[in-house]
Amino acid sequence: MLELQELTTQVRRDILRMVHKVNSGHPGGSLGCAEFLVVLYNKIMDRKDCFEMNGHGEDLFFLSNGHISPVFYSVLARAGYFDVNELNTFRLLNSRLQGHPTTHEGLPGIRIASGSLGQGLSVAIGAAEAKKLNNDSKVIYSLHGDGELQEGQNWEAIMYASAKNIDNIIATIDLNGKQIDGATDDVLPMGSIKNKFESFGWIVVEINNGNNIQDIINGMEKAKSLTNNKKPVCVLLKTMMGNGVDFMMHTHAWHGKAPNDDQLKSALAQNPETVGDY
């Protein structure tokens, strides 16, 4: 537990330093999902150390809201998929760490390009179908933004997954209630996402504090126990955008904006180095 907390703090530092260096990127959603991805990769997923694209015999993860690439890259590097020093190349020319994740540059840990929103759930379902054909009992995880659910392709995929009994998938929605132009309730209110998933035939697990490590562990363990039950599983993860940095919380302002030098200093002071900066 302490270890996961420390790792999360280090991941936060990575996120902040990555976006600060190139003065671009998406810190808000990245910080909000730091605990989740740290827990997923280090506590929940049954995965192999060595990266193979086909992922036979291991759990797989797909990031659909690719703009939170900073947290994804940090967690992958800290899990050993590539050298943490490569985080220094985020968004630079000739880097494998593109602004949005891609397989194009061959970065270990990435299985699909994402960034243009709404496509990840379909891809995750395809990977889940392949696992079924291969008699592979491992699970597919995916993460999606709540604003991202405004993309219609999601609902094609949500309808398909329950109709076809895709029960080896756990799709997590990051419910931070914010998107670029403001609160999701202001931009395009979506009503009850829980009711929508349930009426589409999914099992819904709620994690009310998606920035609490123990709550995430409990919720994801529960979600895992509900797989192989003829129904797809959705986790509604309530998070705080910008979590862990006081001036980035309670606002959508840091969705896609990097901190300046003074802001970085303040943010890092709130998150002291733990397992070591890259």
Binding site: H56, A113, L121, A127, Y160
Partner: protein, 318 residues
């Protein structure tokens, strides 16, 4: 000049269905997806024999492309089936990001391409799909000319690793290529040897080009007919070799002249061997309802049109 004949007419989509069925028997990794057009795509045989390897997606083409991309990750070779319009323009961003940019081994199989879809009209006809697909980095683009070639191409693309766009059509057209042909991606086929003009044709226009070459022969014009089934990568050596002999070229395709095969040929010619070229293609227009034959005549996509363009390009020849 070699003369081509046929004993029967068949639709190219049935060639796809037959090729897919054969793959079902020979390659356990091949899976098929369809967006509510099984009968139109002739996928029944594969589905009957391999129900566990078929995915009926429903009318949700975007989801189909994403699921296909995901299936490749587990080592599968997905063949998606729907009309050309819904295989390309409708799902361009899904193909771009989840398939082409992600370099996924998906075979996008597109029926009812071009005007010859006929009576359904312009909402279902597409004359822009070759352009859309050839612009995507890494995408192979194939447009087959008859039943046998479509079957052979379907089987061949399963052995190629990477995204492929395979375009074919609805109407019954002459079967004139050999049943036992080996399909080589990116390799043009010289159908007739000629010395006065090169006619490069793809898809349904290949048979029209052969008919045109016979009309031209009666007028004392010797045409070299080349079948380009692979528009990308383009077999530029075959084209250059021919125009160095003939000195002029007519391209023929069931597609807009913007973005089509002819444009790809023009680029090669202007870079390496500037040569007069005329285009048999639609002229930046949508289609409309009508029978396939009526449409091909109205929009200038038949043997007569090819003959006219040949006469025109011959006058431009120095």
């Amino acid at each position: 000049m070699k003369k081509y004949t046929y004993t029967e007419k068949k639709d190219t989509r049935s060639g796809f269905g037959a090729g897919l069925a054969e793959l079902g028997r020979t390659n356990p990794n091949v899976v098929a997806l369809c967006a509510d057009l099984i009968g139109s795509l002739k996928m029944n045989e594969f589905i009957d024999e391999n129900p566990e390897r078929f995915f009926q997606i429903g009318i949700a083409e975007a989801n189909m492309m994403g699921i296909a991309a995901g299936l490749t990750i587990g080592g599968k070779i997905p063949f998606t089936g729907t009309f050309a319009n819904f295989s390309t323009g409708r799902v361009y961003d899904q193909i771009r990001q989840s398939i082409a940019y992600s370099n996924k081994n998906v075979k996008i199989c597109a029926s009812h391409a071009g005007l010859t879809l006929g009576e359904d009209g312009a909402t279902h006809q597409i004359l822009e799909d070759i352009g859309l697909m050839k612009m995507l980095p890494g995408m192979v683009v194939i447009n087959t000319c008859d039943y046998n070639q479509t079957k052979a191409a379907t089987i061949a693309i399963a052995d190629y690793k990477g995204p492929v766009y395979l375009r074919f059509g609805r109407p019954s057209v002459p079967v004139f290529t050999p049943e036992d042909q080996v399909f080589e991606i990116g390799k043009a086929i010289n159908l007739t040897n000629g010395s006065d003009v090169t006619i490069v044709a793809t898809g349904h226009l290949v048979w029209e080009a052969l008919k045109a070459s016979e009309i031209l022969l009666e007028r004392g014009i010797s045409a070299e007919v080349i079948n380009i089934h692979t528009i990308k990568p383009l077999d530029k050596n075959s084209i250059l070799k021919s125009v160095k002999k003939t000195g002029c070229l007519v391209s023929a395709e069931e597609h807009n002249h913007l973005g089509g095969l002819g444009e790809s040929i023009s680029r090669i010619l202007s870079l390496e061997h500037p040569t007069p070229q005329e285009f048999v293609a639609t002229n930046d227009t949508f289609g409309e309802s009508g029978t396939p034959a009526q449409l091909m005549e109205k929009y200038g996509l038949n043997a007569d049109s090819i003959v006219k363009k040949v006469e025109k390009v011959l006058k431009r020849k120095k």
